[in-house]
Amino acid sequence: MKRIYFLGGILVVFLILLPYFAGRFFVNAAILTLLFFSISVTWGFMAKHAWLVSLGQQIFVGAAGYTTAVLTMYYDVPLWLSVIVAGFVGMLLAGLLSFPLLRLRGFYFAIGTLVTAEIVKLLFIGWDYVGGGMGLIFRNVYGISLQALYYATVVLAFYSIFLTSFIYRSKLGFGLRALGNEEEAASGLGVNPFVCRSILFTLASSVASFAGALYAIFHPYVEPVTFFNINWTTGSVFVSIIGGVGTTIGPLFGSIVYVALTYLLSEYVGLSLLLQGVITAAFLLLCPVGLWGYLRMKLKR
C-alpha cells in the first residue's frame, strides 16, 4: 500500500513539473492524453460496474464545448467560469437524457446512446445560432496560456479518479454492484435501479462535459464534426480495453498509447483508426483484462 502512495506521489510531482521541462509539443500531447484518460476512467467505470456501455459520450463533449464558446463569445462570461457552467450544463443534459435512455438495457442502451448522439449532431448542424455546420471560431481563447490549460486538465484527471473511487466506496457503488449481481433481489431490498444508474450516468458524464469544455480551449474552432465525433467514444473504448476496463491506472497506459498512435499516424487518419480497431479486437480476444490487469496478475505471482 505504501508503495502505491509513493508511486502516486512521484506521478503527481511529475505531472506538476512537466510544463517546466517538456516542450510545447509534449504539453499538447499531455493535454490530449489526460482528456482521454479522464473520459475513459468514467466510461470504463460505467461499463464495468453498471453494465452501461455508452456509445454517445460525445454528446456531452460537444454540448459542453459549444456552451463554453457561446457563453464566452455571446455573453462575455469569463472563460473559466463558462467552463464550470458548461460542465454543469452537460450534467443537466445527462440527467435529462437518463430518463429515456436508462429505460434501456445492454445493447439497447448502447444503440440508444448512439442514436441520441446522431440526433444531437444533426440538430447542431442545422442550428444557425451556433453557426450550423460551419461552427464557431473561438477567438477569445487566443490569450490563454498552454500551461493554464494543462493544469486544468490535470485537475480534471484527478477529479475523474476521485469521482470514481468515491462512487465505488459510497452507498451508490454498493447499490450498483448489488444490481449487477442480482437485479431483482437488490431492487427488492430497496435499491432503486433507475435512480442508481441515473446518478452514475450524470456524474460520469460531468467528466466528459468538462473535457469537452477544455477541448474547446485546446481546439478553438468549435464545429459539429469534431465535437460530436464518434472518435470520442471509439477512443475511450480503445483506451479502456487496452488499459483494462474499470481500472484507474490502466487507462493511463491506454491513453498514452492512444495519443502516441494518433500523433504518429496523424497524416493517415484512416490507418490510425483501422489499427485502433484491430488492436481493440486483438485485446478483447487475447487479453481481455488489459495491460494493467495483465501486469497486476504477473506482479501478484
Binding site: L104, L114, E118, G126, V237, G277, A281, L284, P288
Partner: protein, 289 residues
C-alpha cells in the same frame, strides 16, 4: 393536397420499406438467435455494395447478377467472423461482444476508406432510370426491383427456417439451449450458420441499397441505426415483424421527408426509434422467430 401525390409518397415509402426490411433481417436473425446485436451490421451491407461494384465492373455483369459471387462470399465471411471473433466472447460479459462488433465496424469502415477512397459510389444501371407511369402512380424502378427481391428473399428464408431440418435446428437453439445441447446440437456451430445466413441476406440488401442510393465508406452507421429502428418496431427475431417494421419505417421516412424536408428526415426517423424504444422496449410485434 391532392390524393395522387400522397399515394405516390405512400407507395415509395412502402417499396423502400421492403428494401429496409431486408437490411434489418440479418440483424433480426442474429438478435433472435444469439441475443446479440452486430454493431458492424451497416458496414457489412456497404462492404457488399463495394464488392458488387468490383465484381460487376470486373466481369461486366449486372450488379444483381454479381450477387452470385458476393452472397456466398459474405456467407463465408459471416461464418468465420462468428467462429473466430464473436463466439469466443459471446458467453462472457455482454459488453465484450458489443465492443468486438464495434471494433469490427471501425475496422471495416476504415478499410473501405483506404481501399475505395471517400468518393460517392453507386450501382446504378441504365434500366433503373426509366420512368414508369401506371395511372398516375410513378414508382421508381430501383425501389420496385428492390422490393421484389427483398420480398422473395423473405419468403425463401421463412420457408427455410420453418420447413427444413437445419432451419428447425436453428430455431431450436434459442428456444432451449440446454435441450438442444442434449440432442447433440452444438450451439456454437449453429451460431456460425445463423451469422452466415444473416450476412448473406445483408449482401442482397447491400446490393439493393447500392442500386437505390449512393454510398460512401461511412454509410454503415446510418444503415445500422435504420435496421435497429426496424428491429425495435418489429421485435427481436420475428421475421414477419421485421417485414412489417420495415414497411412502417419506409412510410415514416417518406412522409418525414415530405413534412420536415430532407434535412430533418433522418432526425425524424431517429426520434421515432427513440420514442418506440421508450414506450415498448421489446418492440411492437415482439415475438418468436
Amino acid at each position: 393536397m391532392e390524393v395522387l401525390p400522397i399515394l405516390n409518397y405512400a407507395l415509395n415509402g412502402l417499396l423502400l420499406g421492403g428494401v429496409f426490411a431486408l437490411t434489418a433481417l440479418g440483424m433480426s436473425i442474429i438478435a433472435g438467435i444469439m441475443r446479440v446485436i452486430n454493431l458492424a451490421h451497416g458496414d457489412v451491407a456497404v462492404l457488399a455494395a463495394y464488392l458488387a461494384l468490383i465484381v460487376s465492373n470486373f466481369l461486366k455483369v449486372d450488379p444483381l447478377l454479381s450477387l452470385v459471387v458476393v452472397a456466398p462470399l459474405l456467407y463465408v465471411l459471416g461464418y468465420f467472423i462468428q467462429k473466430f471473433l464473436v463466439n469466443k466472447l459471446i458467453f462472457e460479459r455482454f459488453y465484450f461482444t458489443a465492443l468486438m462488433t464495434f471494433s469490427l465496424s471501425i475496422i471495416l469502415q476504415n478499410l473501405m476508406l483506404l481501399l475505395f477512397t471517400a468518393d460517392a459510389r453507386s450501382l446504378i444501371t441504365p434500366y433503373l432510370l426509366t420512368n414508369i407511369d401506371f395511372f398516375g402512380l410513378t414508382p421508381p424502378p430501383r425501389f420496385l426491383i428492390g422490393f421484389a427481391f427483398s420480398f422473395a428473399a423473405f419468403i425463401i428464408l421463412y420457408v427455410f427456417l420453418k420447413k427444413t431440418y437445419i432451419g428447425k435446428v436453428i430455431r431450436a437453439v434459442p428456444a432451449d439451449i440446454e435441450g438442444a445441447k442434449m440432442l447433440g446440437i452444438k450451439s456454437e456451430d449453429i451460431y456460425c450458420i445463423a451469422a452466415g445466413l444473416a450476412y448473406l441476406s445483408l449482401a442482397i440488401a447491400g446490393v439493393l441499397l447500392g442500386m437505390a442510393f449512393v454510398f460512401f465508406p461511412d454509410s454503415g452507421p446510418t444503415y445500422l441505426l435504420l435496421s435497429f429502428g426496424i428491429l425495435v418496431l418489429g421485435g427481436w427475431g420475428s421475421i414477419r415483424g421485421t417485414f412489417v417494421g420495415g414497411l412502417i419505417f419506409g412510410l415514416a421516412m417518406s412522409f418525414g421527408g415530405l413534412f420536415f424536408g430532407s434535412r430533418f428526415q433522418l432526425v425524424f426517423c431517429y426520434l421515432i426509434i427513440l420514442i418506440v424504444l421508450i414506450i415498448r422496449p421489446r418492440g411492437i410485434f415482439g415475438g418468436k422467430i
